[in-house]
Amino acid sequence: MTGSLVVARLLIGEAARRRLLLALLLLTLVVIALTVWGFSRINELTPSGQPISEAQRRTIASQLLILVMFMFSWVISLASVFVAAPAISGELESGIAAAVLARPISRLEYVVGKWLGLLALILAYGIGAGVVEIVAVNVVVGYLPPRPLEFLAFVVGEGVVLLTLALALSTRMSGMVGGVIAAILFGIAWMGGIIGGVGAALGNQTITHVGTATKLILPTDGLWRGAVWSLEPAVIIAANTQLGPAVAANPFFAAEPPPAAYVVWAVAWIAAVLVLAVWSFRSREI
């Protein structure tokens, strides 16, 4: 598998040389600067002429953080899609792949190498930016979400699901087409999750099943629910749960974490799509 490591290193090197990493870093700094400023306003809120209570401040901070992290999860997801979608097809179109694949390196090693390189990028970006964001909020308003590690795992997991999907598409279609398809599927899965929640709120079995099916077919929304849940203090969960089944339709709330079986499913899904990508690439002409 040394061939895989060469391919992975090359992909990371390309991201660095082409200043993708720099761009992500700068944009992340901008986002973090904005959230730090936004969160610092919470401290100055004086709705009834007096500073807000500690409990209120924590509640507001937790809800705001969920919104910010929701955006973060979209950025990770779409970045995964657009970095992975041309990863193989671009090299096939330009002819770079022909020179590499004429070396003693198998198609399996090539695809796995691309995947490892992309995985490293997404892990570095997701964990790096996520940690800085959480720490910055903690410094400014003194709020730490209850399960930050689980949160990072769920959000980065979303990115890994999408990068694997986009890479599989990249073995057969151009980066533009594969990227658009993966992005649309991501959007559909997100809406499917909301629709499923609406079904649960209304007690409608059929609609609930549609939601469950989309969560299984593309496990991004299911993982997002896990990420939301990781960010919710117990008081929020308790308060929302009292509202009855209607809260299930809210994409920014999850009453409970995804079951362990679902996490296993997501991992198996990633492995299966990667196998599919290898198979698809093996059976194509260069």
Binding site: R18, G95, I96, A98, V100, L101, A102, R103, E285
Partner: protein, 300 residues
């Protein structure tokens, strides 16, 4: 193992839907420089991709140095210059060569010396540190040639190696190919440039629309030639007798041209003309150039 020919192809056919890119290609290249000649779309690139295992043939098979197409054992001993010679534009030339050293499994300790040697051979010694993206097309092709030569491979597959080169570059490539032959490497050269093939190849196959229309050593292929005969009193029977030796053509000055006649057949042709009652004034054998041969074969 030593007895396995460098390149063997057996009845390779490749179809893309209804297009037949290669039809029943059989080759046996033991040594030297093999020229694979053909017009655009003849199937030259397809043949090389099949030899590398980049493309799977619809039917047929073969081996390189006794190893199956596309196996690691075969690829370890092949150098390849693709038709679309594109390399990682964000890397420096040296880095591209280092990448291929690594992929080819060359010992790390030898990389630096090997890269210097290759850069000198392809005339890029002073541009090793430049990014490939800043290279001119010809420089990129030179780099591609360097990649193909890394690590002294036993078999070198070159897909139109001079398509982007100036006359000096073309001359350099000929010298490089000659040096490869001297070293004992086997070169498979795709080209539609007849002079290039004429100057460096030991044997040649001419392909057209996927079919090999002629194959052999250059001497074999060019042995047939044409002859101009100036004669008077040539009867219809006399012409028919001459037509058995080749294709007849009337030259503007009244002479008769027999195309595709074997050298050894010329005295017999003259004898048969004389026997039919014609008076022969001049017999001028003419060597057919590879270009004429090529055009004649493609015209058929």
């Amino acid at each position: 193992m030593a007895s396995a020919p460098a390149i063997r192809a057996e009845h390779i056919t490749k179809r893309y839907g209804r297009i037949v890119a290669l039809s029943d290609l059989s080759l046996d290249v033991a040594s030297g420089v093999f020229g694979f000649l053909g017009p655009n779309g003849a199937g030259k690139t397809t043949a090389i991709k099949v030899l590398l295992g980049l493309t799977r043939p619809t039917s047929g098979g073969g081996a390189i140095l006794g190893e199956g197409f596309g196996t690691k054992a075969a690829l370890r001993r092949i150098g390849y210059l693709p038709e679309l010679f594109r390399y990682q534009s964000w890397l420096a030339a040296r880095e591209v060569l280092a990448l291929h050293c690594e992929l080819a499994g060359i010992e790390r300790a030898r990389w630096s010396a090997e890269i210097d040697r290759i850069l000198a051979i392809v005339g890029l010694a002073d541009r090793g540190a430049s990014r490939v993206g800043t290279f001119s097309k010809g420089m990129q092709q030179r780099l591609g040639l360097g990649v193909a030569l890394l690590g002294d491979p036993q078999v070198v597959l070159l897909d139109e190696p001079t398509s982007a080169l100036d006359p000096v570059g073309r001359h350099d490539v000929r010298e490089i190919i000659r040096a490869l032959r001297e070293r004992g490497a086997v070169v498979f050269l795709n080209s539609h440039l007849l002079t290039e093939v004429e100057q460096v190849c030991d044997s040649v196959a001419i392909v057209d629309r996927g079919k090999v229309v002629a194959q052999g050593t250059l001497a074999d292929l060019l042995r047939t030639s044409s002859v101009r005969i100036r004669a008077s009193g040539l009867t219809r029977e006399g012409r028919a007798a001459l037509a058995r030796f080749g294709e007849l053509d009337d030259a503007a000055d009244g002479a008769i041209l027999i195309r595709g006649i074997e050298m050894e057949g010329i005295p017999d042709a003259v004898a048969s003309a004389v026997a039919s009652g014609a008076r022969v004034y001049a017999v001028e054998p003419q060597h057919e150039s590879l270009e004429e041969r090529f055009l004649r074969l493609l015209g058929q």
